[in-house]
Amino acid sequence: MITVKYFAQLRQMAGREEDQFDLGAQATLDQLSDAIGLNLPKIGELVRDKKIMVSVNYDVVSADHIIKDGDEVALLPPFSGGA
C-alpha cells in the first residue's frame, strides 16, 4: 500500500488527511495521479500537471521518481513557514 497525505489547501480540498492506494510493487507518479484522480479529480490533475510538489518518504522527488509499495507520499502546496 502507498499512503498519500494531503496538507493545507489540499487537505481542505480532499476533505480528509490521507488516502491509501494499492499500486503493486512499483508505480510511476503518473499512475499515482491517475489513482488519486478517480476520487479527487482536481487534485489528480494538479499532481499530473506538476502544479504541486510531491515528497516520498520525507524528501521532495522529481517527476520521474518510481514509488514503491510501503512508501509515504505527500502532496505539498507551496510552503509559507518562516513568519
Binding site: K5, F7, A8, Q9, Q12, S55, Y58, D59, V60, A74, L76, P77, P78, F79, S80, G81, G82, A83
Partner: protein, 145 residues
Amino acid sequence: MSTTTETKARIQREDFSVTDEIEAIKKSSKNIGGIVIFLGTGRELNKGENISELNFEHYPKMAEKKLDEICTKAIEDYKIIDMSIIHRIGPIDIGENIVLIVAAGEHRKEAFEACEWAIAELKRTTPIWKRETTTKGEVWVQATP
C-alpha cells in the same frame, strides 16, 4: 515533536524563550564570539489586509528533518560553530514569536551569512503552511520569498 537537548531543530506549539535558546547554544563552545538571531513575529498587516490570527501547520517528521538538514548544512557550509531552529505551529496572535534561528560563530560575518541563508532555505524547503484569518475570512498564504 522532538525536544531532546541533542536535537538542534524543533517544531512546537508553545512559545520559546530567546534567552534560553541563546544560553543553550553558548554551551556548545567557549569560542563563540558572534551570535546572529532571526526572530519572525506575527504582523498585523499583509498586503493591506488586517490579520487577526495566524495558524501554522506542518508535515510531521519531514518538517523536522528539513530543519535538521538546514542546521547541519549551515554549520558545514558557513563554518559556524552551531545553529538551532525552532518553528511554532498552531494558532499565533499578532506580535507573538513564530520562528527562531540562532547562528553562533567565532566571528559575526559567517553567523550573519548562515542565519540569512537558513531562513531563506527554511521558507524554500520546509513543509510548513500559514493560514491567515482576516476580515475577509481564512486564507492559506502563498509562499513569499
